[in-house]
Symmetry: C2
């Protein structure tokens, strides 16, 4: 008898028929960062994410306030990648009976801080008891007449863009796991892991001004998420290793923990930056938007005929990258 662990997370969803289901007209179904429901007055973006104790976080290394922020942020990041304006969050929270009330209080404080920061209403949810903490957050976004940015929208000759500096979150997680701390660089990477900043404004502006053809938020790692764009768009995505922004802080943390900073930047997950493709004619407008937001946006590759993701080394030669991803089973 097949067990769920034999299928993995994506295999399970595929086998269950959740991908590629036939939907009523106007719907965009599971398989993107959000589902899109047709709605007069502006379509809706809908996304749900789970955070499970000892799978997605450990109580020993994650405080409740950070966890609350992150639970909201990872969902708002999914809205950002579609170009949706955050509207509402609900939270299903199963909590152990013996958890101190203060834990729940701090968790909801963090949740509310992130929701407030992006003008999103915490519209309730449900609580229950459970042996371990199980959090399920659903976020709703309003497309307000905009077309959603999809993984499938990349076009031949598009530029590939990335916001921010990837890998810091993975470096932060490494530090946590190794029990290392101290220093400003380490602190920055830790914050990036514990309190990621969803790129809501960037997603909104890209969608509003119709600058991007496709987008995804970087949760599985730059290369893995480039792979999602490639697969869904039916095109080849080239990533130029030398153009990936590598922060001083990432390099410092990688050195401290004995990891390869390139591997963290390209394969580490939970960056919650936006990876998107856009026609070359939009370069200036995109750089302007980044400037206006005080957020780096870097041209890191391009889209071509073909399939899969290729990494262009500093020497200009193509190499099959090690694909890295993450499965929660």
């Amino acid at each position: 008898m097949r067990k769920i662990k034999d299928l993995g997370e994506f295999g399970l969803l595929r086998e269950l028929g959740l991908f590629g289901q036939k939907l009523p007209e106007g719907w965009i179904g599971p398989g993107d960062d959000c589902a899109i429901a047709p709605k007069s007055g502006g379509n809706l973006a809908i996304t749900t994410d789970l955070l499970i104790e000892d799978i997605h976080f450990r109580l020993s290394t994650t405080g409740p306030r950070d966890l609350g922020w992150k639970a909201a942020a990872v969902n708002l990041s999914d809205l950002a990648s579609m170009g949706a304006r955050p509207l509402a969050l609900t939270v299903g929270a199963a909590l152990p009976k013996n958890l101190p009330f203060e834990w729940a209080e701090e968790f909801y404080k963090g949740l509310r801080e992130c929701a407030d920061r992006f003008d999103c209403v915490l519209a309730g949810g449900d609580t229950s008891s459970a042996e371990k903490i199980c959090l399920s957050v659903t976020a709703l976004g309003d497309m307000e007449g905009r077309s959603p940015l999809l993984r499938s929208g990349a076009r031949e000759n598009d530029d590939l863009w990335l916001s921010g500096e990837p890998g810091e979150s993975a470096a932060g997680l490494l530090l946590l796991e190794k029990g290392l701390s101290g220093g400003k660089a380490l602190e920055k990477c830790l914050r990036r892991h514990l309190c990621p900043e969803p790129r809501v404004e960037l997603g909104l502006l890209l969608a509003e001004r119709r600058l991007a053809n496709s987008a995804i938020d970087v949760s599985d790692g730059v290369l893995a998420d480039a792979g999602h764009i490639s697969e869904r768009s039916g095109l080849k995505v080239l990533v130029e290793a030398g153009k990936i922004p590598m922060s001083r802080e990432l390099c410092a943390c990688a050195a401290k923990s004995g990891a390869d900073p390139f591997e963290l930047a390209l394969g580490g997950g939970e960056d919650y930056e936006l990876l998107f493709t856009a026609p070359p004619k939009n370069r200036e407008a995109i750089l302007e938007i980044g400037k206006g937001l005080g957020l780096g946006v870097a041209l890191v590759g391009k889209v071509e005929k073909g399939s899969g993701v290729s990494l262009l080394g500093e020497d200009g030669r193509e190499m099959e990258p090690k694909r890295s991803g993450w499965s929660h089973f």
Copy 2:
């Protein structure tokens, strides 16, 4: 240090400030069956419910297909009580690694059957592993220009109405717990517990024709839910014991399991019928709607000045009912 179990489910939500929070204009916040988000083209109703293994269900007595149906149904019932048209469901499903794939397949089949029955799209969600099954379902409904039916809308001299025949679900649960089975009556009560039917059409018609002033779905038991209407409307709700419909099947199951059928009908939860109040002038229209749907609707009491819930005995005398409810902590 206060533990979460010291506060209980409602106490926790209250202490966390989720009730009575200050919301932007046009919002109706947590505390009703759904939150209402203002949205051009028709407001949205939003609700989230958790179903946790060994708290809300046991694998030994609940099959995955029934559980899938019920996970959808309890959320659609919340939409029904607001008069919202089901739009989309998302499911956060944390499942043990060693669960057979067939379990997940049957669960999603049941979920989809219920969603399809009410023209609601299963718009994805998230999966992860966990030690015990933890399900979080969020449902979205479209108000399509209707005003929501709220717990707080009851008016003095309103009639109190109840759809269907309460207590059968509680009787079904008793049978399950005592390992009793056999006979058509028992089978009916079991189905009512395992596969409740959300009263979506009734809620829609009541809201569309503006017939009801307030409504709630019966999840905590008729008296407890009458209490929610009383509390939120600031009025007294009188329930006439002799007018509560008592099905033959309920009485047969109660006899078999040695329980008081009245107590099951008034205090048992998970009926997922609608309890609503309406001005006496709407009596005929409400009975017509019930007839059209093939669903019993019974006039079971009234709303008066005052507070709390009173039960009128068959002798016409008021008695303080035993309040029964349910807390998931």
